[in-house]
């Protein structure tokens, strides 16, 4: 069993204890994220974004003591780590899970044991609706959101017929449901692919044979890279739209020029004009020598939200801490950010386009997709 552990701020905490400082106990945070295997790129960006926020906060960053462990993208491993963090490390807050199936395995049990969970990415519909919880906050989005924005964009752009495709698992179903909720045109076809599938020849043949005007797909990580390359080779040539995940900074270099000009939707982009975002993008590049992805931006915001709440209340006082979190009183890299009644974001979504800056592929905002958008499940949340 390999354990990727980091104790950040432990030394600082010890120094404070020695000096007999009167500062409050640091908030103990357990980060469970994917640091090995095929999905590691997403977890590495989550970790790095979070650590960067703590570093940029200077002194104030010491209010958080962070323990990081690798879930290997396996639900059973994530559950084991969560149990250990809650029982023996006695963390106050859990965070960091990338994948929805892992979040479903960990979050309900964690909040039932009185721990806070701040999601840096995964936000399945079950936890936004009937399964919402006062101790669960999604700082990223609700799973359907980026796809809803893509649907709204397709309607706006007047695309008559769209072929839609996503993996056959909960987040994939959320994706297609989200797209269809805001897309008013007709569907030329709908395919559920296998999770982890890497060959899309059969699907591309069906797209070629269909009368679609455009293709919408949600294939995170390596699946999207494989699809885009094969699609470009096939010469089908119908325009492609997708959620920001499929064209996030972590996969763009591997997709290559096949992604150029593709429209995708997200709540963040590196060229968003605001002070917090400029500082984030600049320090991320300086610290890690690469451009930040969506996942890094979400984790950066999560850490800053946590710091803002820790400055106002102690997690021991759950009601006060929850109220402090709900205010979302932090400078988000997304510009404006607030929580809805189910503690999921109400925020703007943008249409981005993949462009080349010098030799580097990245995204640029070309317009708004949805403004002050919440989610479809808030009404079912009773708390």
């Amino acid at each position: 069993m390999k354990l990727n552990r980091l104790l950040i701020g432990a030394a600082a905490a010890a120094a404070i204890a020695l000096a007999g400082a009167t500062q409050a106990e640091p908030v103990k945070v357990g980060m469970i994220t994917t640091l090995s295997g095929g999905g590691a790129g997403l977890g590495v960006d989550t970790r790095d974004g979070f650590l960067l926020a703590l570093k940029n906060a200077g002194e104030a960053g010491q209010a958080v003591e962070l323990v990081i462990e690798d879930d290997q993208q396996k639900p059973d491993v994530a559950v084991q780590i969560a149990d250990k963090m809650i029982q023996s490390e006695q963390v106050d807050v859990l965070t960091g899970i990338v994948w929805s199936n892992l979040a479903m395995a960990v979050v309900p049990a964690a909040v039932a044991q009185g721990k806070f969970y701040l999601s840096t990415n995964a936000a399945p519909s079950q936890l936004a609706g009937a399964g919402c919880d006062p101790k669960y906050f999604s700082v990223s989005y609700q799973n359907d959101n980026l796809h809803e924005a893509a649907g709204a964009h397709a309607t706006e752009a007047g695309i008559g017929k769209v072929f839609i495709m996503a993996p056959n698992y909960p987040a994939g179903h959320d994706s297609l449901a989200g797209f269809k909720r805001y897309y008013k045109g007709a569907l030329a076809g709908e395919i559920h692919t296998q999770v982890g599938q890497t060959d899309y020849a059969a699907e591309i043949a069906q797209i070629r044979a269909s009368d679609a005007d455009a293709v919408f797909f949600f294939l995170p990580g390596g699946m999207g890279i494989a699809f885009m390359k094969q699609y470009a080779e096939s010469g089908v040539g119908k325009p492609v739209i997708g959620p920001g995940f499929s064209f996030s900074q972590d996969v763009l270099p591997a997709v290559g020029d096949a992604a150029l000009g593709v429209r995708n939707t997200a709540q963040w982009s590196k060229d968003l004009e605001n002070e917090a975002n400029r500082a984030f993008v600049e320090t991320f590049q300086a610290e890690y020598g690469r451009l930040p992805s969506l996942y890094a931006a979400q984790a950066y915001d999560t850490a800053n939200l946590l710091l803002s709440a820790a400055a106002k209340a102690d997690p021991g006082d759950a009601d006060a801490f929850r109220a402090a979190l709900a205010q979302a009183d932090f400078p988000s890299v997304r510009g404006k950010f607030r929580f809805g009644p189910n503690q999921h974001p109400i925020q703007d979504y943008y249409v981005r386009e993949v462009v080349k800056e010098g030799e580097v592929l990245t995204n640029r905002i070309i317009g708004p997709a949805m403004t002050d958008h919440g989610d479809a499940y808030a009404g079912q949340c009773k708390m």
């Binding site: 390999k2 640091l35 090995s36 295997g37 095929g38 590691a40 790129g41 977890g43 590495v44 056959n168 709908e190 395919i191 559920h192 692919t193 296998q194 982890g196 890497t198 060959d199 020849a201 059969a202 699907e203 043949a205 069906q206 070629r208 044979a209 990580g221 390596g222 890279i225 494989a226 390359k229 094969q230 080779e233 096939s234 010469g235 972590d250 996969v251 270099p253 591997a254 997709v255 290559g256």
Partner: protein
């Protein structure tokens, strides 16, 4: 037209599986070794190809590098680790080669980082070509079919017509006896293992070009390769070839046709979801049927001791 394209896709997928399964079945048949690390060698080939192609600008150099790197890694692993496992039982082999997967994965991550690598086609091989009958088909997929056919022929020639092939066949039949007859068994095993590794590396490089080059890319293919080996019969190259084509065709045509067939009985969304689920178990159903009818696999030796 759609059916013809899907059949070509199935053929291409089968050829890719054959490249992977050929090495696996050789090692399995000759040495009686269950090598879970075969997928790691596949990944090694893909990363070597991506790294060399990026540094030199030549895809062909990268392809050559994938063969060399995977063969070298295979030979090294055989001499350092695998050699100590032949006399052990299968459980020890599985444990040790599983450990190798972890070592290779984390080693690759150290060297190349966690993010997928970029590997793309030379312009001469990219794009689609018009086939007789007006079908547009990606050129590179045809190239993969060509590579698979060439490797199949090459292996047949090697096994059936060369001295090394005679020794490999003899090693499969009775390893003590050929040792007693003065063949250097240790060297033969290293060569076979390196050959299998080189084939896996080649498959990794070819597939990495149209899919993604990333840590952990080998394991999903490894499972399918084992299915192919079991269907074809352990140790049989011919079995691996037929098995790979069967699995490739079943998987591709199942994915393409099932949702359409089911939509006659169910509503579209349900048929899509159910069709996708059924298509993904189809190859395992195929495996089960083959094993019920012929427990030793299609071309497995009758009454094999394993």
């Amino acid at each position: 037209m759609l059916l013809a394209e899907q059949a070509l896709n199935g053929l291409q997928y089968g050829m890719m599986l054959f490249l992977m399964a050929a090495g696996l079945t050789l090692v399995f048949g000759v040495m009686g070794l269950i090598n879970l690390a075969h997928g790691a060698l596949y990944m090694t080939g893909a990363f070597a190809c991506a790294a060399v192609a990026a540094a030199s600008g030549s895809f062909w150099l990268g392809l050559a590098a994938s063969l060399v790197a995977a063969a070298a890694a295979g030979a090294l692993v055989e001499m350092a680790v695998i050699r100590r496992l032949y006399a052990r039982d299968h459980l020890d082999q599985v444990l040790a080669t599983f450990a190798l997967i972890l070592v290779f994965s984390e080693g690759t991550r150290w060297l190349f980082g966690s993010f997928p690598l970029y590997l793309t086609l030379p312009p001469a091989l990219s794009g689609a070509v018009m086939l007789p009958g007006g079908l547009h088909y990606p050129l590179f997929r045809l190239v993969i079919i060509g590579f698979g056919a060439a490797v199949a022929l090459g292996l047949w020639w090697l096994i059936a017509r060369t001295r090394l092939g005679i020794r490999i066949r003899a090693g499969e039949a009775d390893r003590e006896m050929i040792g007693a007859l003065g063949v250097d068994i240790a060297r033969l095993y290293t060569i076979v293992f390196a050959l299998g590794a080189a084939l896996a590396g080649l498959a990794g490089a070819l597939v990495g070009t149209i899919q993604s080059v990333q840590v952990g890319m080998g394991e999903p293919v490894l499972i399918l390769a084992f299915v192919v080996v079991v269907i074809g019969g352990i140790g049989s190259i011919k079995g691996a070839f037929i098995g790979a084509l069967l699995v490739g065709m079943t998987d591709t045509l199942g994915k393409a046709l099932l949702p359409g067939l089911l939509s006659r009985a169910w509503d579209a969304a349900g048929a899509n979801s159910l069709g996708a689920s059924l298509a993904s178990v189809l190859i395992y159903v195929l495996m089960a049927v083959v094993l019920i009818l012929r427990p030793q696999g299609l071309f497995g030796a009758q009454g094999a001791e394993r």
